[in-house]
Each structure stands twice: as C-alpha cells, then as structure tokens.
C-alpha cells in the first residue's frame, strides 16, 4: 500500500500530468468564481479532451479542475454574497456578513485554510477508507438515506432561528423548499407536476438560478439601498489585515474544522446527497457548537465558525464522494457520475481492479486532490489583499458587474431565459423572507434534498410499506432528529428559567 501511495505521487509529479493538473486548476479557479457555471458542467465540457491522455494525466486534469471549484466558489460567496457554486451558498451567511463588517480578509483566510484542511481530511479518508467503507455504505438503504435527509433538514431548521417562533419559520422554510423540489416531471409515474404547461419546468427547478436569486438578489437590492461599498463606510486598510487571523481561527477551532471535514467526507460517501447537503449539515454543526444562546446569535452576523464549517465540508466531500465512485462504480454526485464517464472513456473499470491492479492510479487521485488544493490556496493567499479590497469598490461600479455575473450565471445553467426569470422570482421571495425574518438556509436545503428525499421515500414505501420505519438505523436517526429539534427549545427554556 505504501509503495502504491508513493508510486501515485511519482505519477502525478511527472511533468505532463503536473502540467495538465495546473491547467485544470487554472480552469477550476475561474469556473469556481463564476456563479452558475458549475464544476460538474465544466467537467462535462472538458471530458472530450481526455481521449488522448493517459489515465493519470486525465484524472490530474479533471480532478485538479473539480477539486478547486469549491474553494474559489467561497470567494464570491464571501465578497459579494453571490454563491460561485451551489455548494458554496452556506458560506454566504457568515462570510458575507464578515465582509460587510470589514473582515473580508479574515473570512477569506478562514475559508481558504478550512478548505485546505477539509481537502486533506477528505484525501486521507479516501486513502484509508476504501477497505472499511463497503459495509457502511451497504448498511444504508433507501429508508436510512431518507431519514438522513430529514435529520439534515431538522438540523438546519432548528438551528437557523431562535425560539419556538424561529423554529416554526425554520421548518416552514424547509418544507417550502421541499415543496418547490416537487416541481417537474415526477420520477416514478412521469406525471408533470406544477409545470404550468411550460416545457421548461418539466425538468424541475434548477438549483443554480434559485440559489443565485435567493441569495444574490436581496444582497444587490440591499447594496443599492445602502448606496455604499460592500464593506460600507469602514476605514480603509483594515480589510486585508485579517487574512492571517482567519488562518489562525481555523486552527483555533481545529477540532470543529476536522469534525466538519468528517461530516463532508461522510456525506460525500453517501450516494446522491452531495456537496450542497454537506455544507449545510456542517453549518448546522458549527452553529450547534455555540455554547450559549447568546453565542449562537452571532451566527449569521459574522461568526467565523460559520465560514470554517462549510468551507471544510465543501472540500472534504470530494475525497468522500470518490470512495464509492472508485470502489463500487456508484457515483456520489453529478460530478462523480461525469467522472465515471471519464473512467469508461479511458478504458478503466471502477471496482476491485482500482484497488488492486490500478491502485497507483487511485492514489494518484488522492495526491491530485492534495496538490491542487495546496496550489489553489497558496495562489489565493498571494492575491488575498487585492480580493479583499474588492469590498471597498463603490456600489455604483460593483452592482452592474455583479448583476451581469448573476444573469450570465443563471442563464448558463440551462441556456434558457427562463433561468433568469426564476432567479428574479426567487430573488423577490428571498427578499421577502429576509424582510419577514424567515431563514433562507432551510429553504435551500429543502430544495436540495427534495428530489433525493422523494426517491428514497418512494422506494422505502414501495419496498417495505410502513415497516421501513422500524429498521434499527431509521429508529436511531428518528431519535437524532427529535433530539435536534427538542434540544434548542430545552436549552432556551433552561436559560429563561435561570434568568
């Protein structure tokens, strides 16, 4: 194993593989920054170019590109409140709030350092987990995966607001997200649901236009209403100083970073859940790490832990999602499904062969994730001062550029004008939600989980009828969901009794 690990490193460090990886990193860097043009789309666009490459070069190119999109996606989330990737949306809540307080440098430093730690944890998990992960994945059938989705939703709904009223709104927003996920042709009977007789809606609501609308449009409106730069009227020179502070924050909360990385890896391993779920689960866990209700109120207002958690999970899930892809040929996400296509193009068969005959190629993927992330983080740190200064650019200059990014980002999701309309409609809903005090995080998680949860619920009911509710892991997950809901209420009650 050690020999294969070393051989994998040597393979990646060969000049051709390294050059392709750097090209991939460069592409991934810009793709991550652009809202809408996701890592999966770019993987699909670049797939035809790997025909003539050797397996190690091809995976260095594809994985190098994919591994960094999540890292740079955090940059636009922090600076402009526009998610560069669907999987970077959770970073907005605290990262952009920090940017508004003039702490863009600190937020970026924390996001990048956490991303690096997350990527390393994910890569180590990939290297170690293949032999032991098989029984774990096989334990989780459709009922358990459905309950895992419900636990995730309960987690974020109960933690994104305070008190009974806040929890009501959290669950209301989560249920609304799940409801919007039912738009489109249903996967079982093929019935078009809530499509308004529009062909565009048959495939359902695309995540990117909705996310860009719900997060970016309220921010843009707020920026216009304030009429100042993102960092407001703060004194110049304060912005970039915190970058190193952000790195220190990551190590100050090192165990939180590792825990969130492990959450990301675990979610990555589970087929179908993906990075958008991982970031919110990690955000929920980070919010839960607050010891007092007072401390928890800081989340959403610029608590650095709200940046560290999603940042770490976002990158660690890459290593995690590669595990079932390589070991069983079961892709954990859309991007991994496309990567699986890459395996086929190169004549490789995922499965036992990848863990024996082609073990060095498997380990070269581990090294690609590590090297690509280290390079990206170092490059980002070199330009951090300039990036942080973007928050001081006048609103009059910034707004049209962000709006162009938002419109192009939405449009490129499906190359349809309907995507821009969806962005504007959900922008209005997002603004109303902010105005009314409804949390947006559970809504987004509901939308992300909706289709997955529906599939798993249908299979559970069709296969086991009501008996799926009595499976041991399901019972444990139900108990976890109940505790997640009750604990914050109990904590708040105890605090008011003490006061």
């Amino acid at each position: 194993m050690t020999e294969a690990l070393f051989e994998g490193l040597v393979l990646v460090l060969q000049w051709k593989a390294l050059a392709f990886m750097m090209l991939g990193v460069l592409l991934g860097f810009w793709v991550g920054l652009l809202p809408g043009l996701g890592g999966a789309t770019t993987l699909a666009l670049m797939l035809p170019f790997i025909y003539t490459m050797q397996p190690v070069e091809a995976f260095a190119f594809l994985l190098g590109m994919h591994a960094v999109t999540a890292t740079t996606g955090d940059i636009t989330s922090v600076l402009f409140g526009v998610p560069g990737e669907a999987a970077s949306a959770a970073t907005i809540l605290d990262g952009h709030a920090m940017a508004k307080k003039g702490e863009a440098g600190r937020a970026l430093g924390a996001a990048l350092a956490a991303s690096l730690v997350g990527a390393l944890v994910g890569a180590v998990a990939l290297a170690l987990a293949v032999p032991v992960v098989r029984p774990l994945v096989l334990t989780f059938g459709s009922p358990e995966l459905f309950m895992l989705a419900i636990v995730g939703l309960a987690f974020i709904a109960s933690l994104s607001s305070h008190g009974g009223r806040g929890m009501l709104r959290g669950f209301l927003a989560g249920a609304l997200g799940l409801f919007f996920a039912t738009v489109g042709q249903d996967p079982q009977a093929g019935v078009p649901r809530f499509t308004l007789d529009l062909l565009y809606l048959w495939q359902g609501l695309d995540l990117v236009p909705v996310l860009v609308g719900i997060f970016a449009i309220p921010e843009i409106i707020e920026l216009v209403a304030r009429g100042t730069s993102i960092a407001g009227r703060l004194p110049a020179g304060r912005l970039s100083r915190g970058a190193f502070e952000g790195v220190k924050d990551t190590f100050r909360h090192f165990w939180l970073t590792v825990r969130c990385s492990l959450i990301g890896t675990f979610i990555g391993i589970m087929p179908g859940l993906g990075g958008s779920v991982a970031q919110w689960m990690a955000y929920g866990h980070a919010a839960q790490s607050a010891r007092t209700a007072e401390e928890r109120k800081g989340f959403g207002a610029g608590d650095v832990r709200g940046v560290i958690g999603p940042g770490a999970a976002n990158n660690s899930k890459e290593g995690g999602s590669l595990i079932p892809t390589i070991a069983f040929g079961v892709p954990g996400s859309t991007a991994m499904a496309i990567l699986l296509g890459g395996f086929v193009l190169l004549g490789l068969v995922p499965g036992p062969d990848m863990l024996s005959k082609h073990l060095s190629v498997t380990y070269s993927m581990v090294w690609t994730i590590v090297i690509a992330n280290v390079v990206t983080v170092l490059v980002c740190f070199a330009f951090l001062d300039q990036l942080a200064k973007l928050t001081t650019v006048r609103a009059g200059i910034l707004i049209p550029i962000i709006l162009v990014l938002v419109f192009i980002g939405s449009y490129t999701s499906n190359n349809h004008y309907g995507d821009i309309l969806v962005t504007l409609v959900f922008g209005a809903i997002g603004y109303l939600m902010v105005l009314a005090g409804w949390p947006r995080a559970p809504f987004v998680l509901g939308l992300v989980l909706g289709k997955i949860a529906e599939n798993y619920l249908y299979i559970s009911v069709a296969r086991y009828e009501a008996a799926w509710l009595t499976r041991p892991v399901v019972l444990v997950l139900i108990a976890v969901a109940v505790v997640v809901i009750i604990y914050p209420l109990f904590q708040a009650r105890r605090k008011s009794a003490h006061a």
């Binding site: 409106i221 419109f407 821009i420």
Partner: protein
C-alpha cells in the same frame, strides 16, 4: 413591514400548498405521495405562522442569522430603482440578446446610475465585455442566441 411581509408570505404559502394538495389528489399515488406528505404539513405550518403574525405580539421580524436590511430614509425609492434596473436588464437580454445587452446595460448603469465618468464607464464596459467574449464565446463555445427582436425583424 416585517409583519406585512410575513403575512404575505404565509398566506402565499397557504395558497400554494392548498393548490398543491388539490392538484395532487388527481394524480396516481406514486406521483402524489411526496407532494401530499409535504403539502399538508406545509399548509398547517403556514396557517400557524399567519395566525401567529395576526394575533401575536408585534416583533421586529429580524432574524439574527439573516442580512440586516437598511432602514435609511429614501431606501425604498432606491430599492424600486434597483428593481427597475434588473427588470430593464432582463428585458434587454431577452429582446437584444446577451452580446448587446451586457455592454449596453453596463455602460448605461455606470453612466446614469453610478454617475461615473466617461473613461471609467467605457473602460469597465470594454473590459467586462472582453472577459465575457473571451471566456464564454472563444474558450467555452457556449451559445448566446440573438434577441427576440432580431427574430421578429427576421434578422437572426
């Protein structure tokens, strides 16, 4: 304002969920299972929120985990202006297509709304348009069709 927003949202959600439940009753159970499983609790939660908003104590509506909206004088007028620019940009994209709408919008916003000088407005417009073409057209070959106006005039 937060009370009105919450009431608008909860009543809107009640109507949406009500329509969803009604529509789902006409579908086969495979298609109706999830919309009903979500729609019924969604309707109930929205009804509780609406009642709580109507009968409960007045509250600020601020969620500590969300962005704080400005309450400065004149903010509402500026918000309407922002919405008008977005709708205008959307109309320009649909009618003229991205290749024309992007530079047009950028220049007009920078000059008229941003009050920037000629050199800066032209410079930023040219730079962003160059990045737009370089990345999407030259490198990625992503198609941006001509606007509807050109189709109507038979020019596309």
């Amino acid at each position: 304002m937060p009370k009105a927003a919450s009431l608008t949202l909860s009543v809107g959600v009640m109507l949406l969920a009500g329509y969803g439940i009604f529509a789902a009753t006409g579908w086969p159970w495979k298609a109706a299972l999830f919309p009903l499983a979500i729609g019924i609790p969604l309707f109930c939660l929205a009804a509780v929120e609406a009642l709580w908003t109507l009968l409960g104590r007045a509250e600020t509506g601020k969620n500590e985990m969300e962005v704080a909206l400005t309450t400065e004088a004149g903010a509402q007028r500026r918000i309407l202006v922002a919405v008008a620019w977005m709708v205008g940009f959307f109309a320009a994209v649909v009618l003229l297509g991205f290749p024309i709408a992007v530079p047009l919008f950028l220049f007009l916003y920078l000059k008229l709304q941003g009050g920037e000088g000629w050199p800066l407005s032209i410079g930023i417009t040219l730079a962003v348009t160059a990045v737009f073409y370089g990345l999407f057209d030259a490198l990625l070959h992503l198609p941006f069709p001509a606007g509807w106006l050109f189709s109507w005039l038979g020019l596309a």
